[in-house]
């Protein structure tokens, strides 16, 4: 077996029995592990650079990408980032409210409440998000309800994500051990107090990582509200692109922006999860 570390080879039984010898083996094994980890990371980074570099060279060599155009319009497309973030943050907040109500409904023993919550989840999850977005903006005016684009867009995203997150919240609430409920009711707490003070605070902690994942997905899906003329990142990219027939550059910029955003928020989420794992509040 080779650790790539060089010199160790068992020779005489007497050698094996020396304490100093053993410490040396432990050190060398540890060294070898560390080197192998570093090498893996180095290779990883190098592969990315090679692949991306090759892509850039291949595309650049066609001579059909205009750098001037990119530098001219990139700031305008970047201006959509605050809108994208605003829409995503607002939507995840409202979605959390929908999900909470939905989850309580799905856990209700009252038949009509359970039925209504189930209908919500089934209907929303069973239809395309893009249909829902355009429905709230474009179909409601037929009944005299005209929503401003931003309201329709945020509502559509929250209503949709709320349905998916309903199941996440329900699972979170159900993950609370039975003993917690027994302890609360043995103390004389009513169902409402138990839910508010004992179950939900614990369920939220369980569910937070999953909300993080939903938020990252939301950043990408928020591109769909460009269909209701909200001037977020993708709307700016596609409008600029189609006007100038330079779709490649503008979509590339938008794609890189979304990629960067998801990487940043993934890191934030990782941090958050780590902090929670280290917290002394163990559930």
């Amino acid at each position: 077996m080779s650790w790539g570390a060089g010199s160790y080879a068992p020779q005489e039984p007497a050698d094996q029995l020396r304490i100093g010898h053993r410490a040396e083996i432990v050190r060398q094994v540890e060294d070898a592990r560390r080197r192998s980890r570093l090498r893996f990371r180095g290779t990883f980074l190098l592969t990315w650079l090679v692949l991306i570099g090759a892509l850039v060279v291949a595309i650049g060599s066609t001579g059909r990408v205009h750098i001037d155009f990119v530098s001219e319009w990139a700031p305008f497309i970047l201006g959509g980032v605050p809108v994208t973030i605003f829409v995503s943050v607002m939507s995840i907040l409202f979605a959390t409210v929908f999900a909470l109500v939905g989850a309580l409904g799905r856990l209700s023993r009252i038949a009509p409440v359970y039925a209504a919550a189930s209908l919500y989840v089934s209907l929303v999850r069973g239809t395309p998000l893009i249909v829902q977005i355009i429905f709230w903006y474009g179909a409601l005016p037929q009944f005299g309800v005209v929503l401003p684009p931003l309201v329709a867009g945020i509502f559509a995203l929250s209503f949709n994500y709320g349905a998916y997150m309903t199941e996440i919240f329900r699972a979170g609430i159900q993950a609370i051990p039975r003993g917690q409920l027994e302890a609360a009711s043995a103390l004389g707490m009513t169902d409402g107090v138990t839910m508010r003070r004992i179950v939900l605070p614990q369920a939220i902690r369980i569910v937070i990582p999953a909300i993080g994942n939903e938020f990252i997905a939301m950043i990408k899906d928020s591109a769909l509200v460009s269909y209701v003329t909200i001037q977020e990142t993708f709307w700016r990219a596609s409008t600029t692109g189609s006007r100038s027939f330079r779709m490649f550059e503008t979509l590339l910029i938008a794609a890189l922006i979304y990629w960067a955003l998801t990487i940043v928020f993934s890191l934030v989420q990782e941090r958050l999860e780590k902090r929670m794992a280290e917290s002394e509040v163990r559930l």
């Binding site: 023993r109 917690q180 043995a186 103390l187 009513t190 509040v281």
Partner: protein, 283 residues
Amino acid sequence: MTGATGRAAAIGGVERDPHARPGALTPPGATPIVRALELEKYYGSNHVLRGVTLEVYPGETVCLIGKSGSGKSTLLRCINFLEEPTVGVIEVDGIRLAADPLRARSRAHREEIRQIRLRAQMVFQEFNLFPHLRVIENLIEAPMRVKGVRRRQAIETAEKFLEKVGLSEKRDEYPSRLSGGEKQRVAIARALTMEPKVLLFDEPTSALDPTLVGEVLVVMEDLAHEGATMIVVTHEMSFAREAADRVCFIDGGTFVEVGLPEDVLSRPSDPRTQEFLARTRLG
């Protein structure tokens, strides 16, 4: 485990040696504070309790012993309606409630159950502390939310009982930082803050590392000798011998033998009791 041996308790201003006579802490002419009359409990077709009647007088400590599956925990859990008895009557501190599984979820029935639970506090095998709350918060939550005690008053009471179980210095810790024995002592303090008429212990030391059993039993023995009314499901024969006024051996959902600890534990008359005790000693 015999920390409280020989301690005299003052009840009604009269110094009495609690070991002079089991039940000595019960004031003369007292009526039972807990009555469980003719309890029957079925789980489906499994007949767990077969007409059990138990009356407990103020100041008494009653130990329920028996094999696992004999119905002793079910009996205890029926007293505060964590299990709804199939048939029977429960009375705690004058509040009388007939088993009524058919309308078990009606509002009025639930409120009556809550009134019984306020008077009969339970200590669980698995402690069931609220992990998201600090020790002190665990202790003030129910008094504040359930009994409407003011925060300052609740904290004062909580600190008093924390001191009683010897955990004042753990006031601001989260439960995850406590040992099993400490958790169970906090759980006992939590039950005491509700100022119940009777304490129900459901195998309070069964989930503990053997080295931690003693510290919990000492607290319980102190309570027993101070005149608390306690019903204790336990496998700790030493505790039953030391602290119980009465021991009930339950088998197959009925009481086989009820009497003074020295009679039931040392001179059992029924062969089933004899067999159980022989096995317990061997195990």
